[in-house]
């Protein structure tokens, strides 16, 4: 039971306390770029979550059975990048086939997941924290959920701000950056939750 509780804590800590976007400031590009509407933001979050979980899965194996087994840790960046790029390509093809509407809604940001530093950061944090297989998957999934949470929340706020009485000079990106800053401050409050 201890381990189950630990995994749950790890999940909560990745989603809230160490939120990738708002606490670690990774993946800011899609966070600001695709957060205009809740719907597309949610789709982006789903795509990122899927890619993150798969990346955690793939990179764990590559790291443990190839890189560490052969003393090739210096190849981490390179191998992770090609794995992430391939996965994104795969997801892109899949979405294009299954849902052209979603494909269009994600637009240029889908290929941009490739260079989303949140995913690369997550892949690199796994070996740094010495997570085992289950932990890696939970960590990757949690990172994706945290990303989705952050991007959907700010998309909701931006939809409101669009109709709000925003001073003219703050309209658009400035008010979004202020909102993002306030959200990051709010998320710092979660730091008191747990000690993982």
């Amino acid at each position: 039971m201890d381990s189950l509780q630990y995994l749950l804590l790890l999940f909560i800590s990745t989603v809230l306390i160490n939120n990738f976007v708002l606490i670690q400031f990774l993946g800011i590009c899609p966070f600001l770029g695709v957060s205009r509407y809740v719907e597309t933001a949610f789709s982006m979050g789903l795509a990122a979550t899927f890619v993150m979980t798969m990346t955690a899965f793939a990179t764990y194996f590559i790291n443990t059975f190839i890189l560490e087994a052969l003393n090739l840790e210096f190849l981490r960046y390179m191998s992770f990048i090609i794995v992430i790029a391939s996965l994104v390509q795969f997801v892109e093809m899949f979405i294009k086939k299954v849902s052209p509407v979603l494909y269009k809604a994600l637009g240029i940001y889908l290929p941009l997941i490739t260079t989303n530093c949140a995913i690369m950061g997550m892949a690199l944090l796994i070996p740094m924290n010495d997570y085992n297989f289950i932990e890696s998957i939970i960590f990757g999934f949690g990172a994706g959920v945290g990303f989705t949470l952050a991007i959907v929340l700010i998309a909701g706020l931006r939809e409101e701000a669009q109709y709000g009485d925003v001073p003219r000079d703050l309209k658009g990106m400035p008010i979004t950056l202020i909102l993002a800053g306030l959200m990051a401050l709010a998320f710092m409050g979660f730091a008191g939750l747990a000690v993982v």
Binding site: I66, L72, L75, S79, I82, K97
Partner: protein, 329 residues
């Protein structure tokens, strides 16, 4: 050391080959049929992905253009060349829109319009109009600080010596920026073929206009009466031209007693019906002053006393039996 080199080489090679095979397989499994024209259109485009057309990139624009959502002319970077190629690719679907050009509807420069104050603030129309002060007595007039020179992304507007902006037709792309910027709303977009312009925006009564501006519309309504196609309408002491209706005959410019109306086209000096006339009566029906007479199926005649030389008969004749001489003013 050798083994690390070898392992690195091998492991990365195997990994890349594995992923490549997986992607190759997936690209076949998830292949989506696409309109081949999209790819061809994409190749025609500049490929800069600048987003000036309003789409995220050249590929999105190519898709939109093939679907007919946007005209072939809407790539500002590619210009005429790209538009032509796209039109060729899309065949009959492509239709070149009538080119529009920004027109300044004010003629009152420093010489023509009286002044009642001296403005010494920020040299900007927007700033001057924000404090509600105009140097010129006409509160509708061009402020003449030339904000548009900066606003125009194509350098199509320059200020002349008289303190009025001049639009250079060949450079103007009808981007609407000057129309939005002008605090007195003096710019309008009109078709490039338009030769008649009523260059005044003052809604002051004619008496007032007369005193403060040499070239302002005094609302005498002569142009309204002379216009053979009812393209001019009086709106609050101002003659307003409907570019869609205007046939560029230049009669209004000729009549205008204060020279508010500019006419750049060719004025008809002589017009007559030739022997080719088949007597279809079309010209007689269209003539606004009933100057054309003649029996059906016989050659028609133009009554020179009545004729106002508007050129409508020339335009409507199905067999080109109307001859006209023109002169440029």
């Amino acid at each position: 050391m050798d083994s690390i080199f070898l392992y690195a080489f091998l492991s990365m090679g195997v990994l890349a080959a594995f992923l490549a095979a997986g992607l190759g397989f997936a690209s076949r499994t998830f292949y989506v049929e696409k309109d081949p024209r999209v790819e061809e259109a994409n190749e025609i485009l500049p490929g800069a992905n600048c987003g000036a057309c309003g789409y995220a990139g050249c590929e999105n624009f190519a898709e939109a253009v093939v679907r007919g959502e946007t005209p072939v002319t809407s790539c500002p970077v590619g210009g005429d060349e790209v538009a032509e190629k796209l039109a060729e690719l899309l065949g009959a679907e492509a239709e070149t829109a009538e080119k529009e050009i920004a027109r300044l509807l004010c003629k009152g420069g420093r010489q023509e319009t009286a002044k009642n104050a001296s403005y010494q603030g920020i040299e900007s129309c927007v700033a001057a109009s924000a404090i509600g002060l105009a140097e010129k007595k006409c509160s509708y007039s061009c402020l003449g600080f030339g904000d548009y020179e900066e606003v125009c992304p194509f350098d199509a507007i320059t200020m002349n010596d008289n303190g009025l902006p001049v639009v250079h037709d060949d450079k103007c792309t009808a981007c609407n920026k000057c129309v939005e910027k002008c605090p007195h709303d003096l710019f309008v977009l009109g078709p490039a073929s338009g030769q008649n312009h009523i260059r005044c925006s003052s809604h002051d009564p004619g008496k007032v206009v007369r005193k403060i501006c040499e070239v302002g519309c005094i609302a005498c309504t002569q142009c309204v009466r002379v216009c053979p196609v009812d393209a001019i309408e009086m709106q609050d002491n101002l003659a307003v031209l409907d570019y869609d209706k205007c046939i560029n005959c230049g009669l209004c410019a000729e009549k205008c007693p204060v020279n508010t109306i500019d006419f750049y086209g060719e004025k008809i000096t002589e017009i007559e019906i030739t022997e080719d006339c088949i007597g279809c009566t079309k010209c007689a029906q269209e003539c606004p002053v009933d100057a054309i007479t003649g029996e059906a199926k016989e050659r028609h005649e133009i009554d020179r006393e009545k004729c106002i030389k508007c050129g409508i008969c020339y335009n409507v004749c199905p067999v080109d039996a109307v001859d006209k001489d023109t002169s440029r003013d």
